[in-house]
Amino acid sequence: MDEQDAQLVPRLLAGDDGAYRFVVSAYHGAMTRLARAIVGEGMAEDLVQEAWLKALAGLPQFEGRSSLRLWLLRIVRNEAISRLRKQARAPESESLEDDALAGRYDGDGRWRTPPGLWSLDTPEALLAAKEMRSVIDGALGAMPEMQRAVLTLKDIEGMSFEEICNVLEISASNVRVLLHRARKCLWAAIDDSQRE
C-alpha cells in the first residue's frame, strides 16, 4: 500500500470528514468519466453514487494490493458491466465501421485523402470552439463503450497501460487496439469537420 493510501484508509474507516472530502475530490471526477464512458451520461451519476457506497462497505476488506484509485475505478467498472448485463447487453468493443480511415488510403498504402490543414491547431482552440466541442462529443458518443473507456483512462486520466488492464480486466494488446481505434475515430471526425 502506498504511503498516501496507508494514511487515508484508517482515516476513512474512522469516518474522518477531511479524508472523505480528499478522496472524493481526488477520484470522483475519474470515476464519473469512466462510468459515463461505459453506461452513458444518463446512468453515470447514479452508478458512481452506488460505487461509492460499495467502496464504503468494502473498505474494511481493502488490502492495498492495488492503489485506492485503481480499486475505486474497478468498482465503477464492475458496477457498469453489471448494469449493462441487466439490460441484457455486453459492452461493445467494435462498431460496424471500425476502420475510421477506410478509404483514406489507396491500394498502395498512400494517402488518397490526406489530412487537412487544421485552422484550430491547439488544444485550447479546439475546446473553445463550440462546434468542435460538438464534433468531439459526437465522435465520443458514437464510439463503442470499451473504446471510449480505454480512451478515457489513457488520454483523459493519463493512466498507464498496466493500470488500464487492471481496471478494465482486458489484455494489454486489447487496450492498444481499442485505443488506436478510438483515437483514429476521433481524429477522423475532427479532420472531416475542419475540411468543411
Binding site: H28, G29, Y105, W111, L179, R183
Partner: protein, 78 residues
C-alpha cells in the same frame, strides 16, 4: 520503407512509445520524408492533448464533490 497506411496503423503506438526501436526508427524516417503522415501524427498528438485538457476543465467543478461528500456523510450516519 513503411507505407503511409502502415504509419497510420502504428501512429498510436508511436505516440505511446510502444514500438520496438527499429520500427520506431522506420516510422521516424517516414515522418521525416512524408509531410502528410507527419501532419497526421502531429494532429493525433493534438487530439490526445485536447482530451487531457478537457478533463482539467471539468475537474474545476466543486459542486459534484460537495454533493457526493454530503451524500456519503448521510449514509455513514445511518
Amino acid at each position: 520503407m513503411l507505407s503511409c497506411h502502415e504509419i497510420g496503423e502504428k501512429a498510436s503506438d508511436y505516440l505511446d512509445r510502444n514500438l520496438p526501436w527499429w520500427t520506431r526508427a522506420q516510422v521516424r524516417m517516414h515522418l521525416f520524408l512524408c509531410e502528410n503522415c507527419w501532419r497526421h501524427v502531429a494532429q493525433l498528438r493534438l487530439v490526445v492533448k485536447t482530451l487531457r485538457l478537457s478533463a482539467k476543465h471539468e475537474d474545476s467543478a466543486r459542486e459534484s464533490t460537495d454533493k457526493t461528500v454530503q451524500f456519503l456523510r448521510s449514509r455513514r450516519q445511518h
